[in-house]
């Protein structure tokens, strides 16, 4: 574990440093429109160019330290249950992400199990499953929110349905592949035992599908988060990272938008990492070669 971390830490830090340098450099020309007059007012000079470009109240693109300061202030200096706290918004988005992810996982696995047991379902459902993902989520999200809102569902449920809609797909596809991954001999063996379909499912197909499941889950949980954020955009929601970004863009608060963006990617990375941790635990239980 330590070895793993050590091997990864240097390349990761190098890339991070490169991105930060490019970001700071890019701030100067990109903020020039807003900064020009202020730089002139301050008397010009290179040091003023840097100070103004990296310290604007409403920059076109905020400098990294501005984003970090905003995150620090809105995470640690405001009580987490207040609307101004970033933690509050992360929590709102996270709950609908998790609910949508759980529903999507159940739906995806359920569909995969149905599909591998019936050629009829395979032929009839598969085109619909694929077609469902060709519809742009940005187009369909407001409709889902609107329709559900008109029958009295608002807030958490519609948002998590959008997450579910996005994340069942990789799970269904991955699990169809995983559940059909046992080789013919392993299946023939079950046949010689006169095993029932459910015994084959639980004792052979599911264990064999585990690597495929975890790969799918990692993709699914990241897009479940995207789904939740997209679901917050058209609702005029009061809470959530999506609402925070939308409010930021209404009021020209670019620093706030970027803080929410960074928070969202941090949450996504943590969720994917958590799934990876679960995968390692399951691998140990299943005796995988280390």
């Amino acid at each position: 574990m330590l070895m793993r971390t050590e091997r990864h830490i240097l390349p990761v830090l190098t890339i991070c440093a490169a991105i930060l340098v490019m970001w700071y450099v890019a701030c100067i020309p990109m903020n020039a429109v807003v900064a020009e007059t202020k730089i002139a007012a301050a008397g010009g000079g290179f040091s003023n160019v840097l100070a103004v470009s990296w310290g604007l109240d409403r920059p076109v693109i905020p400098a990294p330290h501005q984003v970090l300061t905003e995150i620090w202030n809105s995470v640690f200096l405001i009580a987490p249950w207040k609307v101004k706290s970033l933690v509050f918004h992360i929590w709102v988005t996270l709950t609908s992400t998790m609910l949508g992810f759980v529903m999507g996982t159940i739906l995806g696995i359920g569909l995969a199990v149905a599909i591998i047991h019936s050629t009829l379902l395979n032929k009839s459902l598969m085109p619909w499953i694929i077609a469902s993902q060709t519809i742009p989520i940005l187009a369909i999200a407001p409709m889902i929110i609107g329709v559900l809102g008109s029958v009295g569902f608002t807030g958490l449920i519609p948002k998590s349905l959008i997450s579910m809609y996005l994340c069942f797909f990789p799970i269904a596809i991955g699990m169809v592949k995983g559940l059909t991954s046992p080789d013919p001999m392993q299946l023939d063996l079950m046949r010689t035992y006169n095993a029932s379909a459910s015994q084959i499912l639980w004792k052979l197909r599911f264990p064999a599908a585990m690597p495929f499941l975890f790969t799918s889950l990692k993709v699914a949980i990241a897009i479940a988060l995207t789904g939740a954020i997209v679901g917050e955009l058209p609702t005029g929601a009061q809470g959530g990272l999506g609402a925070r970004m939308l409010a930021g863009s209404y009021y020209g608060q670019t620093i706030q938008i970027w803080a929410a963006l960074v928070a969202a990617s941090f949450v996504a990375a943590s969720l994917v990492y958590a799934i990876g941790g679960m995968e390692r635990l399951v691998n140990v239980r299943m005796g995988a070669r280390p």
Binding site: M185, Q186, D188, M190, R191, T192, K203, P207, G287
Partner: protein
């Protein structure tokens, strides 16, 4: 042949044929096969690839459906025999479930069939294949020969009277194969099972069998059946005896004749 003799036979095939319908037309995998396997026999099917020896074994196991003639296993149709769990099957590869330990692999048929007394059955059968002490290992921690022994223990776990083995040692080197042949023979002698064994090795077939079935391809058919008369308890030394060499010669000639027919 009287009805009494038929009842004695574990496997009885008459005029058995099996044709696969493929996109390129029918493939005659088996044609006019007559075969009797009696209780306690060790029968080997030998022949070149494509002679239908594995197909014949799979038809007996009801993993393929025969298309002509009759075939009974324990006086039942193969499907009934399979549903009655009449046989243990050992595949060309160990086909162990990699997420199960050795003991959990051997216990798999017991779980599926709901047979109690699992711990002592697992122990007894691991003893039988000389693998006590490896219960908690996972398959990847074992050598190929050990893995195949686990799969034999698994096939024996629910104590079937009949053991069907499809080239079980084909992927192993000769030294390991000799050792496992010896162990298999001891196991057969001790358990009094009936064994049907597919191989393409002449010494293996002659050493193991009470009856050698020589087969030939296109269409898959039996061209010679040779009974041997070696003592039940025998060692690899018998491979140097004139009688062994004579039988091996007859098998080789049978295989040659089968090929001449093909040309």
């Amino acid at each position: 042949m009287g009805s009494f003799d038929v009842a004695q036979a574990v496997i009885e095939a008459k005029d058995l044929g099996l044709t696969f319908q493929t996109a390129d037309g029918p493939v005659f995998a088996l044609s006019k096969v007559d075969l009797t396997v009696e209780d306690g026999d060790f029968v080997s099917f030998i022949g070149p690839s494509g002679c239908g020896k594995t197909t014949l074994l799979r038809a007996i196991a009801d993993l393929e459906k025969f298309t002509e003639g009759t075939l009974t296993v324990n006086s039942m149709m193969p499907e009934q025999a399979r549903l009655a769990r009449s046989y243990g099957y050992v595949f060309q590869a160990p086909a162990l479930y990699p997420w199960r330990t050795v003991e959990a692999n051997v216990g798999l048929p017991l779980e599926i069939m709901g047979i109690g007394d699992a711990a002592s059955r697992i122990q007894r059968n691991l003893d039988l294949v000389n693998l006590s002490g490896f219960e908690k290992k996972f398959p990847w921690q074992l050598s190929g020969g050990m893995q195949q022994r686990v799969s034999i223990a698994r096939a024996l776990a629910f104590d079937p009277k009949l053991l069907l083995m499809d080239e079980p040692f084909g992927a192993l080197d000769e030294i390991v194969r000799d050792k496992l042949n010896q162990q298999l023979l001891e196991l057969w002698d001790r358990t009094k099972k009936t064994v049907v064994f597919v191989t393409h090795s002449i010494p293996e077939a002659v050493f193991l069998s009470t009856k050698i079935v020589v087969m030939s391809p296109r269409p898959g058919r039996i061209i010679d059946v040779i009974k041997t008369n070696f003592p039940r308890q025998r060692t690899l030394d018998i491979r140097e005896t004139p009688e062994f060499l004579k039988i091996a010669q007859r098998v080789r000639e049978g295989l040659k004749a089968g090929h001449a027919y093909e040309d």
